[in-house]
């Protein structure tokens, strides 16, 4: 998903401009100039962020919002309803599984591919070809990834063909429509679609490690594993931490992939916090309850973002 690539890094700070000895009026006029440049951004942020967040918090405390005309304040009723419902907790645990497994697998596969592509044993051309192939899943939007994997994982599809003819499974498995396998199947698809982001970033990181570190280690008699554990991993650690946190934030918010493959089913086994919230709002039209769920999801994301910004600060 493209949003994956959005960044949460802080704005780079420019050099301070000293402005001593100016007369007052000119200083005021000067002071207004940056706000002129910023006004479109500020207006858009008000409309698109500040007001909507105030609205959703307001909705979450009310009944009969949006579709009906007589809103009433109901306090924390919706929050209590949600936090005591089994559906919410099962969606939360599905989301946790989906997210943790995806993030770990993205990291492992991304690192493995990056290390292979960075190997000195390969020529530049070979590297370029394989890098392009490995980036492929990144170029597809979630909607495309979802229909493609529905085709591949169809009971009569090619995945089942390969598994049954090689004898790995006896019968055709309904990957996306049986409760035992659906969560694994959507997680698998998400892993396939997400690793290139890590791979590309880690590859850039690997290329940034000075070669003499390895030469020095070689002289000291360190073997390949020791070099990996003592040089590569510590050098990549800052990148790994920020990417994993970013991925964590985005994966907990994943909606389109689930919606287009399983819709949260079968029997709620792939229900995520995002699909749970969406259904409350747009299939059940319980906008108050949905808003409370949305605020809970927002809180989770903000907590994760806080850790991300802190990790990012520590790096600078």
């Amino acid at each position: 998903m493209a949003r994956r690539a959005a960044l949460l890094q802080a704005l780079p700070s420019p050099a301070a401009e000293s402005d001593g000895g100016q007369d007052r009026l000119r200083a005021v006029r000067r002071g207004a100039v940056p706000f002129g440049y910023l006004s479109p951004t500020v207006v858009l942020l008000m409309i698109l962020m500040v007001i909507p967040i105030v609205m959703v918090i307001g909705y979450s405390l009310m009944d009969n919002v949006i579709m009906k005309k007589n809103p009433q304040l109901v306090g924390f009723k919706h929050y209590i309803d949600i936090l005591t419902s089994d559906t919410f907790w099962s969606a939360a645990s599905n989301t946790a599984f989906f997210t943790v497994v995806s993030v770990v697998a993205h990291l492992v596969i991304g690192l493995l591919f990056a290390l292979m592509l960075n190997s000195p044993l390969l020529g530049g051309r070979t590297k370029a070809v394989f890098r392009t192939i490995y980036v492929l899943p990144w170029l597809f939007t979630v909607a495309i990834i979802a229909v493609l994997w529905r085709l591949l994982l169809d009971p009569n599809g090619v995945v089942n063909y390969l598994l049954t003819t090689t004898g790995l499974t006896g019968t055709q498995i309904e990957w996306l429509s049986s409760p035992e396998t659906a969560l694994f199947a959507v997680t698998f698809i998400n892993i396939w679609s997400g690793y290139p982001f890590y791979m590309t970033s880690l590859l850039a990181g690997l290329q940034g490690i000075p070669g003499d570190y390895y030469e020095a280690a070689e002289v000291d008699g360190a073997n390949a594993w020791q070099q990996f554990a003592r040089i590569t991993v510590p050098q990549l650690k800052p990148i790994i931490i920020s990417m994993a946190l970013l991925d964590f934030i985005w994966t907990t918010q994943q909606f389109a992939l689930i919606w287009m493959t399983t819709g949260g089913g079968p029997l709620g086994t792939t229900e995520m916090l995002s699909t749970f919230t969406y259904k409350l709002a747009f299939t059940k039209y319980q906008f108050g309850t949905a808003s409370a769920a949305a605020v809970i999801v927002l809180t989770i994301s903000m907590v994760l973002a806080f850790f991300y910004v802190r990790a990012q600060r520590a790096r600078d």
């Binding site: 909507p52 609205m55 493609l148 063909y161 990148i239 969406y278 709002a281």
Partner: protein
């Protein structure tokens, strides 16, 4: 074992591993391509055919001859290009302020812009739905374009600010000495030398808009307002699945991104990984 044979063996092992990895990455994509050239009846043929036996352009013809489906593409192009132009315009102005001025609340605004990116789309969707209906832009291009800016602006501002910071201040000082305003400095001097940064941000912005699903699903309603991601889903009918058409539409749907990637590979990857790799 000599050093040489060891390195040859390591190389063979590595190539083998790379080929397996390439299969994992590329076989699903090849399957999509191959299925898009099959008649729908051959999609689940047994045994599966990686190379279509009854090669046909039917699935593509079905897309191009159906005005509704062509419209999905036109909508996607129109919305994505509009979002890109607007984002670049607003972001250049904001980035100029961040890069070249000091002003009160700069830190606060900075924090807001950064945290916007962590806000879940689903949280914004509910109030947007209310707002969009209230503003009378439900099921319109304006509604989509406006709401997409929330995804694209923060990133674009951050990237452009970083880019402007790398340009020496002497550039704009020279304009001031000649009596020009900061406005002249921005448009005559900074923007023309920032083309690589603009391309990078533009590509990224286009991709976000092109790929967006959740808002397009919820804030539009009629088939003539739908974008490609929703159009693909609409092909999953109640009774029949037009798999070959879904695949051909997917191929056509990834072409703009693929072309951007092939022609601007450096900007593409540079832009996408700028956050993860310290520059």
């Amino acid at each position: 074992m000599s050093r040489r044979t060891r390195s040859t063996l390591a190389r063979i092992g590595l190539i083998a591993a790379l080929v397996i990895g390439a299969g994992y990455a590329a076989l699903p994509v090849l399957w999509m391509l191959s299925s898009s050239f099959k008649p729908n009846t051959d999609i689940f043929a047994y045994p599966p055919q990686l190379i279509p036996q009854n090669f046909t352009w039917d699935a593509y013809a079905a897309i191009f001859t159906d005005p509704t489906k062509v419209r999905f593409f036109l909508n996607s192009y129109f919305v994505s290009l509009s979002v890109t132009v607007l984002t670049l315009l607003v972001a250049v102005l904001a980035a100029f302020a961040f890069s070249r001025f000091d002003f009160p609340f700069k830190k606060v605004l900075n924090v807001v812009i950064v945290s916007v990116q962590a806000v879940p789309p689903i949280t914004l969707l509910i109030p947007y739905f209310g707002l969009i209906v209230f503003l009378g832009v439900y099921n319109t291009y304006q509604g989509l374009i406006l709401t997409y800016l929330v995804f694209t602006l923060p990133y674009a501002i951050i990237m452009m600010t970083g880019y402007f910071n790398t340009l020496p201040r002497e550039l704009d000082e020279a304009v001031k000495v000649d009596g020009g305003s900061s406005w002249t400095a921005l448009w005559r001097i900074l923007v023309p030398v920032s083309v690589p940064g603009l391309v990078s941000v533009g590509i990224y912005t286009f991709m976000i808009a092109w790929n967006e699903y959740l808002f397009a699903l919820t804030l539009t309603k009629t088939p003539e307002m739908r974008t490609v991601p929703i159009g693909i889903q609409l092909l999953m009918g109640q009774h029949s699945y037009e798999w070959n058409q879904m695949m051909s539409m997917s191929i056509l749907g990834c072409i703009p991104i693929l072309l951007l990637f092939l022609f601007f590979q450096r900007y593409f990857i540079g832009g996408m990984t700028a956050g993860a790799v310290k520059n």
